[in-house]
Each structure stands twice: as structure tokens, then as C-alpha cells.
């Protein structure tokens, strides 16, 4: 009889409390679905607003231009609204479907191929940066004195202008990196630049995450006479995951930025960075193509961010959202 079961349970305050908690968990899951719906709607509305603002401003400026009015703000503070400065949205998006002269593929397909090339550079750099960042985080967590000594250099490394070191890395790659068993290619130098941007957030947040378990949790592991590896594997690494994924989201998008800037300043062919540079040169004859290629880069950045978010949901899940309780 379910009724008597329920009555028996009601006598145990702990079980009763648990039922309440279960109810709350169910509601939480429903809230999560609602959140995704809300986010999608918000994103779409925001995108529409942005397009509307762009188009509206352009139409406004051109109506003034057409009437030969002199409007001091436009053209000095705000951009001019002619098609060279602000190509119509329809033409920017229309560009994706066009086949550029001398090509046999539509522009979107070309951008996609180049995005894959940039993604490969960025991903290789991201993985190496992840490993280097974690090694640094582990070392800093292990030896506190190292933290005081090394951390300033880790921070300082990020203030060196990327555009300055990119060509150096490419030249080193061509002339010096003979130690590797494979032939060094220019895109690998771009990966090194992506690594340079990704290891930093991983190291800083990884360190925070590894230090996040409470003293009591560490004492618990000590009371079990756990080895350093056991404590790392069963306590500190899992506890660091939420911190780590926050860093990986930054690192993933930074690796794309690093790859694009690296391509531009190192003159590596085949990726989005090179594409953006070329479209900038050809701006006067096809401004909409530059806008379209920049949009492609933005989509790539959003894509890697979403991938990391998805992996986070798989690995960390609903639980382990934070340190041990």
C-alpha cells in the first residue's frame, strides 16, 4: 500500500527532508531546460536588435546624406553610412553564398575550410597550453616558494606584445626547431603562439583549483595515509575541475585569437587570419567580404566556447559544482 509507505516515511524527518530535496532537484532540471530556451531567445532577439541598429543607423545617415544635409557627428565620431564604410547587412550575409572571382567554391565553403585550418592550429596550441599550464599549476601548488618566485614571470609573459614575438617564433621554427622527429611547419609556429595565450589562464585558475579543497579534506586524505598521487587524483584534481573549465573557456577563445593574430603577423597561408588580412587589402573593391570573414572568425570563437561548455557538462555534470562540501 503506497499510502502506508508514505505515512511510515513521514515519521522519519530525514527521509521527509530528502523527499523535499528530490522535488527541488526535479525543479532544478526543469529550470535548466527553461534557461536554455531563455538563452536562445535572448541571443536571437539580441542579434536581431544588433542588425536592426546597424541597418537603422545606416538608413538614417543615408537619408540625411541624400538630402545633402551636413551632420557633423556622422563621419567624425560615428562611421559614414555609405556602402563602402557600412555594407548593407543583406550584402554581408549574401557574400557567404557568392563565388569569388577565380574560385570554384562559394565564400562560406572557403571560409569553412580556412576556419578548419585555423582551428587545427588553435587546437594543437590549446592542448599543449593545457598541459604546460597544468604542469605549472601543479608545480606552483606543490612548492609555495616557487609560487612567489615564478608567478611574476608567468604574469609578465602575458604583457609581451604578441605581434612582436610571432615573427620571431616563425623564424625560429624554420631555422632551429630541428630537434623534433617531424618536420616543423609554419602552422605549428602559429600553434606555439596559441599556446602562449592559453597556458596562462590554465596555470592561474588551475593553481586556484588545486588549492581549493578545504584543510579538512586534506586532513582526511592524510588520515588515510594517502600518497601524494592518491590525494591529487582523488581530491585535488576533481576539486579543481570547475576552476579549470572556467579557464578553458577563456583559453579556447584566446587560442583562436592567438592563431588568427599569429597567422597575420607571421604570414602563414591557409587560415582565417590570412583571409582577414587579404580582405582588408581588397577592402575598397569588396568591403562586405571583410565583414563576412570577421563574422566567420567570431562564429569559430563561439563554436570552441560552446564545445568547452559541452565537455564541462559531460565531465563535471550537475554535481561537483565546486569544492567538497
Amino acid at each position: 500500500m503506497p499510502n502506508t509507505d508514505a505515512m511510515a516515511e513521514a515519521h522519519d524527518p530525514l527521509v521527509f527532508e530528502h523527499r523535499l530535496k528530490q522535488q527541488a532537484a526535479l525543479e532544478q532540471r526543469r529550470d535548466a531546460v527553461m534557461r536554455i530556451v531563455r538563452q536562445t531567445v535572448t541571443f536571437t532577439v539580441f542579434l536581431a536588435l544588433l542588425v536592426g541598429l546597424y541597418t537603422g543607423y545606416k538608413a538614417f545617415g543615408q537619408s540625411i546624406d541624400d538630402a545633402q544635409h551636413d551632420w557633423a557627428v556622422i563621419g567624425s565620431v560615428l562611421p559614414r553610412t555609405d556602402d563602402l564604410n557600412m555594407p548593407p547587412v543583406s550584402e554581408i550575409f549574401g557574400q557567404f553564398g557568392e563565388t569569388p572571382g577565380g574560385q570554384d567554391q562559394i565564400y562560406a565553403r572557403i571560409l569553412f575550410g580556412e576556419a578548419l585550418f585555423t582551428l587545427r592550429e588553435a587546437f594543437a596550441g590549446f592542448l599543449v597550453g593545457l598541459v604546460i599550464g597544468m604542469v605549472i599549476a601543479l608545480a606552483l601548488a606543490q612548492w609555495r616558494r616557487l609560487e612567489q618566485g615564478l608567478l611574476p614571470y608567468v604574469v609578465a609573459s602575458q604583457t609581451v606584445p604578441l605581434i612582436a614575438i610571432a615573427p620571431i617564433i616563425v623564424i625560429w621554427g624554420r631555422k632551429n626547431f630541428d630537434v623534433f622527429p617531424w618536420e616543423w611547419q609554419d602552422w605549428m609556429s602559429v600553434s606555439v603562439i596559441a599556446t602562449y595565450l592559453t597556458f596562462f589562464p590554465v596555470a592561474v585558475n588551475g593553481l586556484r583549483g588545486l588549492q581549493s579543497p578545504r584543510p579538512e579534506n586534506q586532513e582526511l586524505m592524510a588520515s588515510y595515509a594517502a600518497t601524494w598521487w592518491q590525494a591529487l587524483w582523488r581530491l585535488r584534481l576533481p576539486a579543481s575541475l570547475p576552476y579549470l573549465f572556467a579557464a578553458l573557456k577563456i583559453a579556447a577563445t584566446a587560442s583562436i585569437v592567438g592563431a588568427i593574430v599569429g597567422e597575420i603577423s607571421a604570414g602563414v597561408e591557409g587560415g582565417l587570419g590570412r583571409r582577414i588580412l587579404r580582405e582588408a587589402f581588397n577592402y575598397t573593391t569588396g568591403p562586405d567580404r571583410l565583414f563576412a570573414s570577421v563574422l566567420g572568425a567570431a562564429v569559430l570563437g563561439i563554436f570552441v566556447f560552446l564545445v568547452v561548455t559541452g565537455v564541462e557538462r559531460l565531465v563535471v555534470g550537475r554535481h561537483g559544482g565546486g569544492a567538497a562540501t
Partner: protein, 255 residues
Amino acid sequence: MNAIDVRGVAKVFNPGRSNQVEALSGIDLSVESGEFITLIGPSGCGKSTLLRLIASLLSPSAGSVQVNAKPAEQARLDRDYGMAFQTAGLFDWRTVAKNIELPLELMGWSKGDRRRRSAEMLDLVKLGEFAKHHPSELSGGMQQRVAIARALAFSPSLLLMDEPFGALDEMTREHMQDELLRIWGETGTTVVFVTHSIPEAVYLSTRVVVMSPRPGRIAAIINADLGDRTAATRDDTAFFKKVTEVRVALRDVEG
């Protein structure tokens, strides 16, 4: 054989520095097997420090700590004791059962043995149906019961508890005290229990160790020989007398 022998123990934190603190001085304490000992005293009396010396999470500045007739550190390496803290300290990325299996994993138990033992322990703390839940889905009292199950999972002869019920509300707390006494009766484990609460100390223990601060010393040891605890014990005159006795001893150390 005594479960615990503390001889002439002193503990000084940050010796030789400006923030030097004498936490414990001249501590002698023997605990027999199967006893339930509580350490009680005002803040800064070193009761948690004494517990951590017994656990060999700290080492004494002077004197010796023996657990099961061997040095405390050896006892820790042999996993002679289980420990529970003020916070349950469960790992939220593990299920309740997996939390209880944590020490067994570290000790290299086989998967089947771990499963069987965690199921037994969950029955012991009456949480059998919650094996697959995650700690965040449980109430504070249930989490503490899991923590106790985890501490007892590998059948240690000694259970060290640092204010485990301090964060619980009064109702849950009394419920947990009865649970702990039942488990103590069923397992025969020696218990050392740190608390702030006088009624809790009297209700739970065979002996109450009253400590005084600056530096931490043992001021009095009071036998709480009230026989088997029942629901009536909390309203018993003998119980109140003991509570008063401990309170007076504590007032003396504060003054």
C-alpha cells in the same frame, strides 16, 4: 592494552617566532579500548589540537603519543583510526556509496568487496536507499551519517571526531547522538569526541575530559557513569547532576 596513551605532551605552534603559541602543555591521558571519551573546553584550550596529535596529523613538540601501543604516526600509516570532522567533508563528485568506498579504494580493496562493505555501512547508518545519490541531495544530518559510515568503513578500532554535530540543529543533533551511541554499541569502537556542548559530552561519553586554555591543559576528568542511555536519560536527575558537575569544572577553568 590501552587504545591511546598520551604522555607529557606539549605542542607549540610557530616556535621561536613572534606569533608563537603554546597550544598544549603537560598532557597525560590514557584511553582504554572501547571507551567513549569527550574532550570539552573553551575556545583555545587545544582540544582539536590534541585530537590531531592522536591522529598524527600534527606532531608533538614534546612527549609521546601512542595509539594501539605504537607511535601515532605508525598507527596512522596502518590506518588504525577513522576520522570525522565538523563539516561532513564529502566529495560532491562522488555518489554516497563511492564516498564511503574512498578509504577502501586507497587501501586497495577489490571492487566487489568495496560494494559489499559500502552497502553494509549504509545499512548501519540507515541510508541504504541513498547509495546512488550525491551528497548535495542530502540534508546536513544525512551527510554527517555518511561521513561516520566512511570513517568506520574499514573497521578501524578507533574513531576520532572533531565536533561532528556542531553544525546541526538541535533536533537533528539529538537524533545523531542516539545513532552514534547505537553504532558505538554495535561496533565496540573506541571513540574520542571533541565538542562544545556540555549535555552532548555527558550524554555520549563514559568519561568527560575538561580542558583549560592558555596553554591547553587537562583540568579535570569526570566519569559519566550513567549506564545505558535511553530517551529518559536526558530528563534524568543524575544526568543533570553530571551536566552541572562538568559546568562547574568548566567555570573553574574560565575563571
